[in-house]
């Protein structure tokens, strides 16, 4: 146990740490490429950002946009074999990219930890809950078996699990999905980390439980003064639970802004498209979802120019040839990478054009569909166009 001073000692130490200023996490030009038989997969391609203590950052993007790899790369959890990693990650002012495994292990769990997407698979099926939580307490804080068990119980109470006493001796399969995710949160927070990665923590859960879990993470963040990086594909999830949002596309940062600024004034057509793809409750039934056409780009052969250009309704020749740099918007903390951002004259003209076309399409599409079946009193109507 040589790493004593490094270990976090819960909220008090976290609070003293806040005094020494500077961002908690400073990522500069982080690159993570994987060597595969098909070629180099550019999962994370030069991402830079900073995260202050106690703040929540949302990383948003489609599947395959590199958000999970980014969070694992920051933590250093990726296998070394066939991975190329460069750039700099300063954690509390300390470079952690090329830290030897032994040093990294001391940070993992104690300083930064992670919650995974699927609570069904992220808990060991043959280890009792209490023991699983206790393991890292004993490892990092050197607690005795009994103290670890007591702390585990307190953690279970913290994450609002009903009947925490009973849970200590249960196995993961005896718990529901939501409870498992709570256990996972307790596990991740056991040693009082200052940075918590939540990798799509609600994707595998029911909508009703999703809100509770997000509330819980938010609550623990303020109670423990943790920073949280919330990785998700759902703009709705990050909207209420983050201070800042970072939108990723094809391994690159394409827009980043404080949450309120982003929703009020998004610049990147991709962000806008993501937002439009969320169904709205007040839309009439049978409204088509606004999907983003096409698929995320192949990260082995990313398209020339702006990587979103092949799918962008507003793309011009320039977009297909020149990759846009990160431009600062009116708000100083708002950056985006787009030649023709939302609100620019070109964008406005093109969206008017698109709206007119869509109007015609919808009219043509709806007309014959209506009379094919009439809703009965008990059953919903299924139109042929579904």
């Amino acid at each position: 146990m040589t790493g004593r001073p490094l270990l976090a000692g819960g909220p008090t130490q976290a609070a003293t740490r806040q005094l020494d200023g500077g961002p908690l996490l400073e990522v500069t030009d982080l690159v993570t490429h994987f060597r595969t038989p098909r070629g180099l997969v550019r999962s994370v391609d030069g991402v830079s950002f900073t995260l202050d203590r106690g703040k929540a950052l949302g990383i948003v993007g489609e599947s395959g946009s590199g958000k999970t790899v980014l969070s694992r790369s920051i933590m250093g959890l990726l296998p070394k074999l066939n991975t190329e990693r460069s750039g700099s990650v300063l954690f509390e002012g300390r470079e952690i990219v090329d830290l030897p495994l032994k040093e990294r292990r001391r940070i993992w769990g104690a300083e930064m930890s992670m919650i995974f997407q699927d609570p069904m698979t992220s808990l060991n099926p043959v280890m009792r809950i209490g023991k699983q939580i206790g393991e890292s307490l004993r490892l990092h804080l050197g607690l005795s078996r009994r103290a670890a068990r007591e702390t585990a119980l307190r953690l279970l109470q913290d994450v609002r699990i009903p009947e925490p006493h009973k849970r200590l001796d249960q196995y993961a399969f005896e718990l529901s999905g939501g409870m498992r995710q709570r256990v996972m949160i307790a596990l991740a927070m056991a040693c009082g980390p200052t940075l918590l990665f939540a990798d799509e923590p609600t994707t595998a859960l029911d909508v009703t439980v999703q809100a509770q879990i997000l509330e819980l993470i938010g609550l623990q963040r303020t109670e423990r003064n943790m920073s949280v990086i919330l990785v998700t594909h759902d703009l709705g999830v990050v909207a209420g639970h983050t201070d800042e949002i970072m939108v990723m596309y094809a391994g690159r940062l394409v827009e980043k802004a404080p949450t309120k600024v982003l929703f009020a004034n998004m610049k990147m057509p991709y962000t806008e498209a993501l937002l439009h793809s969320i169904p709205k409750i007040d839309d009439p039934s049978h409204t088509r979802l606004n999907v983003i056409p096409g698929r995320p780009p192949d990260l082995v052969n990313p398209p020339a120019g702006c990587s979103f250009s092949p799918r962008c309704s507003f793309a011009q020749d320039r977009c297909r040839q020149e990759a846009p740099p990160l431009i600062t918007a009116e708000h100083p903390e708002h950056v985006y990478a787009c030649w023709y951002p939302v609100g620019s004259p070109h964008h406005r003209a093109r969206s008017a054009e698109l709206a007119a076309a869509a109007e015609g399409l919808v009219a043509r599409w709806r007309e014959p569909a209506r009379p094919t079946c009439a809703p009965t009193a008990t059953r919903f109507c299924v139109s042929k166009t579904w």
């Binding site: 769990g109 808990l123 099926p125 280890m127 399969f173 040693c191 909508v207 409750i281």
Partner: protein, 340 residues
């Protein structure tokens, strides 16, 4: 979010399901093969007890206990030697008994062999060697196989390449040939005195035989579990490699291993029997089943079927029981996996 958009398939043939409370019935859960399971366990317990306590158990004739190789049976004061007596229940066999003229004799549960030794007693004693050999071999094999398999499956890279190729080479060897090689290599001809051949060459041979398949099994399972999120989660909490291997991955493999090891043990008993049949196994005063079967083969034509058949039946029942126990265990563990 938009629950109103969810389409409901309009199927006119769908039966109307009354939502009123269905009558609750007490459900009887039936389990298959329960009796067989307990019979198998009982047989194994009986064999183990006999193997350990053969020297003092009342149902084994005393002449056989200890290290004497004669094990002859005393009937009414006369020593029966060099005569095969049928089992006492084999009423259809006409016993020829020149020692006690005029008095046809059957003997014991399993009859006697061509030296007049009680086969039941020898079969119980044979359990000792057979179980010790197979049990030790599978245990050692498990230890090595698990270690190699986990190293190969978790660390991959060059260690995996080396171990995987070695395993393939070993599996390509004809197993019987391999064991005969090992046994004859370690049993030097000059020390091959009947009573001095030790147990360990045959155990070594069987260990060599059992390591490759176990390594493969463990490797495959380790690879599967190493990619599960809970291993990454343990890593992300700072767990060390040894802890991940032995605390996170190993307990998940153990159920599979246990049931496989039991099947493996049954196979090793057969292998040992095969070796003994070929005269390559231990030469100790206490017999093994394979050797007893081998000894009886010359008398099969003469009609003394029990000499080979009785040890074979004992072996068969033991193997069957072990396999059934393996089944029971794997089923038990599987249910938990299914819930999880």
């Amino acid at each position: 979010m938009s629950s109103t958009d969810v389409p409901v398939i309009d199927d006119p043939d769908a039966p109307e399901v009354p939502l009123a409370a269905l009558p609750t019935k007490k459900v009887k859960v039936r389990r298959r093969g329960r009796v067989a399971k307990w019979l198998a366990i009982a047989w194994l317990v009986f064999m183990t007890v006999s193997a350990i306590g053969a020297n003092s158990l009342p149902y084994i004739p005393h002449e056989c206990s200890g290290s004497t190789s004669t094990c002859s049976t005393a009937i009414k004061g006369d020593i029966l030697t060099k005569r095969e007596l049928p089992p006492s229940w084999a009423f259809w066999v006409d016993p020829v008994n020149p020692v006690l003229p005029g008095k046809p004799t059957h003997h014991g549960l399993m009859g006697t062999d061509s030296n007049g030794r009680d086969i039941f007693a020898r079969a119980m004693l044979g359990a000792r060697n057979s179980l010790i050999i197979a049990g030790l071999a599978i245990t050692i094999g498990l230890a090595f196989g698990t270690l190699l398999g986990m190293v190969a499956g978790y660390f991959r890279g060059w260690a995996d390449t080396v171990i995987e190729n070695l395993t393939n080479v070993m599996l390509a060897f004809p197993p019987l040939l391999l064991t005969i090689f090992v046994v004859t290599f370690f049993n030097k001809p000059d020390t091959a005195e009947a009573a001095q051949r030790p147990l360990w060459p045959i155990i070594l041979a069987l260990v060599v035989l059992s390591i490759p398949p176990l390594t493969r099994l463990v490797r495959a399972n380790t690879i599967a579990y190493a990619q599960r999120d809970f291993v990454t989660a343990a890593r992300s909490l700072g767990a060390k490699r040894g802890r991940i291997l032995f605390r996170e991955i190993l307990p998940n493999i153990v159920p599979t291993l246990v049931s496989f090891a039991l099947t493996g043990m049954a196979l090793l008993i057969i292998a040992e029997g095969g070796l003994a049949f070929l005269g390559q196994s231990v030469e100790l005063p206490i017999p093994t089943w394979g050797k007893m079967i081998a000894e009886g083969k010359e008398k099969l034509r003469a009609g003394a079927w029990w000499i080979s058949l009785m040890p074979a039946a004992t072996m068969f029942l033991t193997l069957l029981s072990i396999n059934m126990l393996g089944d029971v265990l794997s089923q038990r563990f599987n249910t938990r996996e299914a819930i999880a």
